[in-house]
Structure formats: C-alpha cells, structure tokens
C-alpha cells in the first residue's frame, strides 16, 4: 500500500496569547517537518531598552507581555539589583513573592479554565463550555479574580502594575489592605480542590517523553524569584553562568528565537519542570492535593500540565495566605539604589517558565545592552519535538481530530507568543 501523506495546518492558533501558526508534514506515520511559525510582529525590546535609565526598565519590560507583566518586572529588578550590588530582603522580598503569587493564580487560571480545559471536553472556548459546565467555569473565573485582586492591591492594577521599582516598591501596603484579601483567598483554597478533582477526571492522551526539565531551585522554597538554575540532567548554574549556557538561534519561519542548552539541546521549562524538580519544595497542602489528583513526584505527560497548574495555583494561594498573615510593613518601601557601570543577571519563574534577563548599565545609569530569554522561546523546540513524537498518532486520526490534538499539544505549554517575539495557525501536511 502506498504511504499516505498529509499536511496538518492551523492558520492562526487559537487560545494562545499572540499570533502563530503550525504546520506538520506527515509521510505515512512519520513527520517530515514540524514548524511552529510565530508571526507575531517583532517589537525589538532589547534594542529599545538601550539608552533608557535602569529605573525605567521594569515599567518598559512589563509591556512585553500583558499576561505575565510581573514576571518581566521581577526578572528586570533582580538583574539590575545584581548589577548594582544590592539585595532586597525581609518584608520587601515577601511582598514581591506575594505579587508573583497573584500573577501565577491569575495567569494559571486563565490558561487552565479558559484556554486549556475546553480542549479536553471538546468545546471551542470557555463560554461554550460554561453552558454545560457552569459551576466549573464560574469557580475558575472567581479563582482567577482572586489572583487579580492580589495584583491590584499590591501593584495598583493587574496588567502592568505601577508599584514595582528597582529596590522594592513605591509604596508598601498596610496590613489592613492585605488582610482584606484573606476571605477570598480562603474561599479559593477550598474551591481549587474541586477544580482539581474535576480536571483529574479528564481523559489524558497517553504520551510521555524524557524531557530535560529546567527550573529554578531554592534551598527551602518552591521557586518564584530566586534559586539556582538546575535541570533533570545535572545542570546546576547561577543566572550569570546560564547566560553562556543558553544559545538562541534564529529560524527562517519564526520571529521568536529558538533556545537550547549548549552541547545539550532542547529543554522544557514551566510548570511541569518546576513540579518535577521541586516536588519536595511544595507545601504540605499542595503536595497532598497533587497526590490525590493522581500526580506523582514524576510527571512526564505534558497534557497533564493542566493538573500541575492547578496544584501551583494551590501552592500560590497557600503561600499568599502565609505571607499576608505574617506581614509587618517594612520601614522603607524600597532599598535606595545608586547607579554604577556593571552587568547583572536575573532569572525568575514566570507562570510559563523561567525568564532570564541580563543588563549592562553604564556609569550614567543608562542601559547599554539587554538580553531577554522568555519561556516560550525556550520551549519552542520542545513543542516541535513533541509533535514529531506524536506523528504516528496524528497520522491515524481523521484530519479534524489530528488538527485539534496538535493544537492541544501546543497549548500544553501555555505559549505566550507576545513574549516570545521576539505564535498559532496549525497545518498538518501529508505528503
């Protein structure tokens, strides 16, 4: 029998942030090509940062992504503070973690409930899904709102918060302002268990790969803003050392650079990587919830990342509660910084994965050079490899189902294309 060839093509990928397309060429059960085509127009952030004051950077880089602005602000601040030789500790550090909790809760809820869950239940979107699963969607939206409330109180607003500055915050919240968040956080801590039970009954495609997971690892905490960059195959470096380890390549079909580890290749960052590398750092509540949802310390099925995101929401809610309950306002809302000529490095855990920044500052405090490596460009190659690996399954499915499955495989990564451009329309071609 002649080998059947076909192309799976998605013109504009839906329920991802930003613009991208996907083309898969199949010959029989083999994929001959997989191209994630990110046509998000480039905005040249690394170039336009040159000549700006180091104090302006967190406001500018937040505009790279409306979904994870806090991640950009945090990596920027840490990198610049590294260059200036200052350390932000105590209540200010706790407030940064709290702001990050808000972003994880908001961004993960958006993805889990509105972008990813409809894939498993066969709906085009969350609004259509809400007709048959009203409680699950309403619960998800309310959990999402809890995250937004944290960001609004602490940051001023949920998209592009105004309160973050190099050295800390412009204004530290009062205890009463933060404590007002507790009732909704307590409610969400109870509700997320139901969401996890709901999602754990989804049917997950049987698919696993032996990824090299990369995430931050901290001596005592589930990682947000600090830690060494480690991998499941022995990488263990500082952010400064990672700069040389991470190589970015340009491919002709994408405005997003492809990252790989020098002499190692593609890797995976994000919730799955954090979970696998930091299971022992989860709080008791999140760890028990993970186990009861059927997740074990090792999870190599990217389709199950939705469960991991829900566990991470729980972790972030639990952490937020802890931070608020023990909060005493700092004496000063920020550490005073003084410009000097230096290069600094910072890596924090954006909801989608590790976000690396490097800045060189000149003697006048202006940015001379910037390097930003967003999670989606780090995961691009791995997304393509996943699709190569599932080619035989895609070849056996009717085209509409194959296309759906391929899109879902990309959405597993919660790709944030606005960030990565520096992505989605899906095509499967059978030659």
């Amino acid at each position: 029998m002649k080998e059947r060839s076909r192309t799976i093509r998605v013109g504009t990928l839906a329920r991802v942030e930003g613009s991208g397309a996907l083309t898969i060429r199949l010959k029989g059960k083999q994929a001959t090509a997989v191209e994630l085509n990110i046509f998000e127009p480039p905005r040249f952030f690394e170039a336009l940062l040159r000549g700006r004051s180091h104090m302006e950077v967190p406001d500018i880089t937040s505009r790279i992504c409306g979904i994870c602005p806090v991640a950009y602000q945090m990596s920027s601040c840490h990198a610049i503070e590294d260059a200036l030789g200052i350390r932000v500790d105590g209540a200010l550090r706790a407030l940064r973690r709290l702001l990050y909790c808000g972003e994880w809760i908001e961004s993960h809820s958006l993805h889990a409930f509105m972008l990813h869950a409809p894939d498993f239940l066969g709906y085009p979107d969350a609004v259509a899904m809400a007709k048959d699963h009203p409680e699950a969607v309403k619960r998800g939206l309310r959990i999402k709102k809890t995250g937004n409330a944290i960001m609004t109180i602490l940051g001023g607003r949920e998209i592009h918060p105004v309160n973050v500055r190099v050295g800390g915050f412009y204004r530290a919240p009062t205890r009463a302002e933060l404590r007002a968040l507790l009732p909704e956080i307590e409610w969400a801590l109870g509700a997320i268990g139901e969401s996890l039970a709901w999602a754990s009954r989804f049917s997950f495609p049987d698919f696993e790969r032996d990824y090299e997971f990369v995430a931050l690892r901290h001596r005592g905490e589930y990682p947000f803003t600090e830690g060494r960059i480690v991998s499941s195959r022995g990488l263990d470096v500082t952010a400064r050392e990672f700069d040389a380890q991470c190589v970015e390549e340009q491919v002709p079909y994408s405005t997003a650079l492809h990252a790989r580890l020098r002499d190692r290749g593609a890797y995976l960052c994000g919730p799955l990587a954090r979970f696998n590398l930091n299971f022992d750092r989860l709080g008791d509540v999140a760890r028990e919830a993970a186990l009861s949802a059927g997740l074990e310390a090792r999870c190599r099925n990217p389709f199950k990342s939705i469960l991991v995101r829900l566990v991470e929401i729980l972790q972030a809610l639990d952490e937020a509660r802890r931070i608020i309950e023990s909060y005493t306002p700092p004496e000063q809302p920020f550490v005073v910084v003084k410009a000097r000529a230096a290069t600094g490095y910072g890596a924090t855990e954006a909801p989608r994965g590790m976000l690396f920044h490097r800045y060189t500052i000149d003697g006048d405090g202006l940015i001379a050079d910037a390097r930003i490596v967003p999670p989606t460009s780090q995961n691009q190659k791995t997304m393509e490899e996943d699709l190569f690996a599932m080619a035989s399954v895609l070849a056996d499915l009717p085209l509409s189902e194959a296309t759906w499955r391929a899109e879902q495989a990309v959405r597993n990564y919660d790709p944030c294309i606005s960030c990565s451009t520096h992505f989605l329309d899906c095509r499967i071609e059978r030659e």
Partner: protein
C-alpha cells in the same frame, strides 16, 4: 422572532495582548456579556470563528509590518463599527520608539539573520491607516471603560469617556499632589484620565501611560520639570515612552531635543 445578537470581533496586531486580555479579566461580566453579544472572532479566547461582517470590531495593536498594513484594510471592510484599544492601536505603543531611530539597527541588534524579519520602519496607530470610530486610551486600558464602550455601542450611542487630565481624578481621590508636596516629576497635568490616578496614589509620579489629554500644554509642564532639576534627556525619555508616538508628546520631545538651551525664557504673566 428574537433579535439577532450583535457580532463582536477582536483583532490583534503588534501588542503585548494585555488590552484584549482585559476583556477576559472581566470575570464578573464575561458570561453575561456573552449572552448579549456573539463573540464571533477572538483568537485569544476561542477556536470557533464566525465570518464577517461584524457589528463591532475591537482592535488591539499597532501596524508594524506590510502584511498587517493590508490586513487592517480587510478588518475595516468587514466592520460596521471599529474601536481601537490601548496605546499600540491608538498611538503606536512602546514599539513606536523605533520611529525615532533606525529600524535596521534595531533589527540587527535583536536578530542574527535580520533578512528573515519583515518589519516596517515605523509603528503606527490604526487611525493612520483606516477610519476609526472610537479610540480608547491606556497602557493598558481600564476594564470599566472597556465595558462602557462595548455597552454604549450595543445601545447605539457614543461612549462618554472623559478627556480631562489625571489631575482631576487625583484631586477627586483626595491625593496630596506629589509634584507640589514632594517635587516628584509627574506627567499627570498633561495625561489623559482613566487609570484613576494610580501612580500618585502609590507615591510616584504619573508616567503618562494613558497618553495626552485633550488639548494638553506639555511645553508649560516641561518648563516646570526643567526648573525643578529634571535633566533634559530624562524629560525627553519620560515623554518618549508608552505614548511616544502620540502627536502632543512626540512634538514636545522633538522640540526639547532640538532646542539646545532650556526652552524659552520664563514669561511672567
């Protein structure tokens, strides 16, 4: 026969996605809104796609590529009412900083193979390319204002979004003026209201992320900044940020760069 629900389309051009995300951030209103309006095209939210024409198109993002310059013409043809949201769509966004520089330099700074990258020399507002029915300002836009705009168009009238300055909202919040009391440079007097005077409420000066108010007087504010010790290059940078491409801010930043000496001698009234 039940009336047909109006069809909404949401379009994305060069942007951070934050302004269209604002719609998904309407956690309390989204489901009821979807009962009154058919979400016919919104790639960030749905796989489903209903063809045009559309009763209301919301456009997020600026025009930075030749392909997008063509696509916006098609979007306009399919849309009865077209509303642009956010600085990218209304003023070119932060990426309009390229308009003051050489885009070739930008392209080769970021990309090893710049020839693969399709980009225009400028980032421009949607209104530079097609007629726009309403522009909603902000970086990002404010959720309440977005809902107000959608509901206004559903009911067939124009939205009433105040075009006065941040100062008005700041006063009504009862803030102490950060400029008068602390000497903190603040773009509030020339910046479009909408955020609710967030920055002064968080002990910092406004950084202009809602763009110029109606009939601003940036020259007068510049003089204040310079007299109070803000370096000229820092002032140029503050005008040249999220609304760098808005006429009033652009003209003033260019003037400041071209005039070597501190503005004009101070005129006593």
């Amino acid at each position: 026969m039940a009336a047909r629900k109006p069809k909404l389309a949401v379009w994305k051009f060069a942007s951070c996605d934050g302004c269209q995300l604002t719609l998904l951030d309407c956690e309390d209103e989204l489901l009821s809104l979807s009962g009154r309006i058919e979400i016919a095209y919104f790639r960030e939210a749905t796989r489903a796609e209903v063809g045009g024409p559309y009763d209301l198109s919301i456009v997020d993002g600026s025009i930075t590529t030749a392909a997008d310059r063509e696509r916006i013409l098609e979007v306009r043809r399919m849309s009865k009412v077209l509303v642009t949201i956010g600085t990218c769509a209304t003023a070119g966004g932060i990426q309009a900083l390229r308009n003051f520089r050489d885009v070739e330099e930008f392209r080769s700074l970021v990309y090893a193979r710049p020839e693969y990258i399709d980009t225009l020399a400028t980032s421009t507002a949607i209104s530079r390319h097609v007629p726009v029915d309403f522009e909603l300002q902000g970086c990002p836009i404010q959720k309440g204002q977005l809902l107000q705009v959608i509901v206004a168009f559903l009911n067939g009238h124009r939205p009433t979004v105040p075009a006065y300055s941040v100062c008005v909202q700041c006063k009504s919040r009862g803030n102490v003026c950060v400029m008068v009391a602390h000497g903190t440079p603040c773009l509030g007097p020339i910046t479009h209201a909408g955020c609710g005077a967030l920055c002064p409420s968080y002990d910092r000066g406004c950084y202009g992320c809602f763009g110029p108010m109606e009939t601003p007087n940036p020259r007068s504010l510049s003089r204040w900044f310079l007299d109070h010790g803000t370096p000229r290059n820092a002032l140029v940078r503050s005008l040249r940020s999220f609304y760098a491409g808005a006429d009033a801010f652009q003209r003033e930043s260019v003037r400041l760069e071209q005039e070597e000496e501190p503005a004009a001698p101070r005129r006593d009234r």
